[in-house]
Symmetry: C2
Subunit: 372 residues, 2 copies
């Protein structure tokens, strides 16, 4: 293999690869990126056996070929090369070394044979559709905070992406929950997604996917099977196993009879919660909401460190209510609101509370109260 | 006590206090800041028993008095208050609580009696002088990287500030070393510093002092005794014990007979060292410098991960030389150079190397070589 490639294109491709690679692993080749050069491009493939990413970059290929080198080391080198450098990658096949040349710098990196690199088996996908990057970004950005980190409840360690019945017809829906709070975010169902099986997209895949979604104009090709999901742009293909488990019936958790309605400026609300929570104990982080005629009092009472209280003007016309929450959960859902006021729908102080943005039901959040 | 104070002024005062307070300590009152209000100002005092900082801020004092509250909690609260808020601090003396009011927020914090707060004993200072903030900043900024972190060599855990004989008369000098590298930085001796005893200023004090030195126009009043050092601006007084030990005779370490002279662009040099060090082993970080007629070759050879080489154009007219260094040490001293080229003076590959900026001898660095 002998190729020349622009530093910027190489950096982009290798960045994504090194981020998929697990820092600590016992199988040496999993630390490597597989470089394959042919025609007028080079592809960079990395995997942790659950996720595989392939980045394609334009390259001048003088001699086609393939090899594998440490993804982290190659990334570090390319990152430190000067802007605008042209990078040459040469592997003569015999020495077991990849030479990296740029300007007056020259590196020689240990390689492992390409034959040892585990390439993910191909799958028959049962649904193929495309979606705009900003739409997918919204689905995952607004739901991922609620993903559980409890390893024993592995079926909650991801975002449940599936087809559901929304208020105005079928939707593509993402749901995540950890048992304390839940996020449910919808977008109009893209053509071709009708028969998509519901899949639980693992947390790490959600993180890697995010990097494909920055470009507002980009259209993302999505393919889904019972066991795998694939997201692709013209240059990058991200394939991931999905979590082999059953996502619980979340619809039971979403309250429908909550009638006590509070409307509040989300940013003012978040700042006030953050302030009063300063004195709350590290462990409980409990904040009490006391509601009465257009008035919300947030309060914390921690015997050790002190007490705090703040009043906020809100829209509230129902009966008096006192209800407690974990401040962290309130802050996280309030920060999902970006256009309108936050609308909270309460039932009693022991029941789950629903939050949404204005009257928009395409993203709703549920949070369990706590005794205060 | 009952006072009103601008949020910005309060934040500045409390920031410095909470930074001196040790996060984990067994004496509860050391977590607190002592607030004393009288006349038209309030002072905020914090200590870890080795360092004491007192910040003064203008305040409307309605009722004079004093109390102590958690520095970290008060800082967190003030930080989260909106810009421009007027903050009221009220302590009625009986409840054991300090009330903090701002807008519609109200906090009640546990207090401890002012009598329990350990105020640092006053000292007779044997030298008092003043210096411009940028001058002191240079002294400490350019030397602190070489402070040792080895607790057993406690006398190296700070910067040795003393009066010395420079090339053009007496200087105020800061020296730090960890046995592998050494920094020696001079400034013209300020009037009044002639009889200053040499003191070892602890690492933490150097860090706290740094915050007083940001304002280029500020003049800093420095007072030194055998056991303490004090730095003061009109608003802030930082008093610190000095390290009770003898700084080793560093002059023996600074080579005087090094004649092989290399001149190099410091930034190009640092970037090249950083690049080739990418493949060096985590532990040794060894980089080899090979010098020959205006040419420097930097190289690393790590059996496991690979090899790297980079050539740099330098000014060098002496005999061929090969010498190895820890990449981290080279990077740190190269980053001290800000105006001119770095000048390295070598002797043999086993001898300490000297580095300075151009022909300026007011800041010199010594670095020990390593076998490569």
């Amino acid at each position: 293999m002998k190729i020349s490639i622009e530093r910027a294109a190489l950096l982009k491709a290798v960045s994504q690869a090194q981020s998929v690679v697990e820092r600590r692993n016992t199988i040496p080749i999993l630390a490597n990126v597989l470089i394959e050069a042919e025609g007028d491009s080079a592809s960079f493939r990395a995997t942790d056996l659950d996720i595989e990413v392939v980045d394609k970059a334009p390259a001048q290929v003088e001699r086609a070929g393939a090899t594998t080198v440490s993804a982290v080391t190659l990334h570090e080198i390319v990152r430190k090369l000067p802007d605008g450098a042209l990078v040459q990658l040469i592997d003569d096949g015999a020495s077991g070394r990849l030479t990296v040349n740029a300007g007056r710098s020259s590196f020689s990196l240990a390689t492992l044979p390409r034959e040892d690199f585990p390439v993910m088996a191909t799958t028959e996908y049962s649904a193929n559709f495309s979606a705009k990057a900003p739409e997918l970004r919204r689905l995952f950005d607004k739901s991922k905070f609620a993903i559980s980190t409890e390893e024993t409840r592995y079926y909650l360690n991801g975002v449940y992406m599936h087809v559901a019945q929304g208020d105005d017809g079928q939707v593509l829906r993402c749901v995540a929950t950890d048992g304390h709070r839940l996020a449910r975010v919808d977008m109009p169902l893209p053509a071709g997604a009708e028969n998509m099986p519901g899949v639980i997209v693992p947390r790490k895949t959600v993180g890697e996917l995010r990097k494909l979604l920055d470009d507002d104009e980009m259209s993302i090709a999505v393919s889904v099977s019972e066991t795998k999901v694939r997201f692709a742009t013209p240059d990058i293909t991200l394939t991931s196993k999905v979590i082999d488990g059953t996502f619980p019936d979340y619809t039971r958790v979403i309250p429908i009879g909550n009638t006590r309605r509070m409307e509040v400026d989300a940013s003012e609300f978040a700042k006030a919660v953050d302030r009063v929570a300063t004195v709350s104990s590290e462990r409980s982080r409990a904040v009490k909401l006391s509601l009465d005629e257009d008035r919300l009092i947030l309060s914390v009472n921690a015997p050790d460190s002190g007490a705090a209280e703040e009043e906020l003007a809100v829209a509230y016309g129902d009966e008096k209510l006192e209800i407690g929450f974990n401040a962290k959960y309130l802050l996280e859902i309030a920060s999902q609101v970006d256009r309108e006021n936050a609308v909270f729908l309460f039932n009693s102080s022991g029941d789950p509370t629903l939050m949404r943005e204005g009257n928009d039901t395409s993203a709703v959040y549920v949070v369990m109260p706590m005794r205060v």
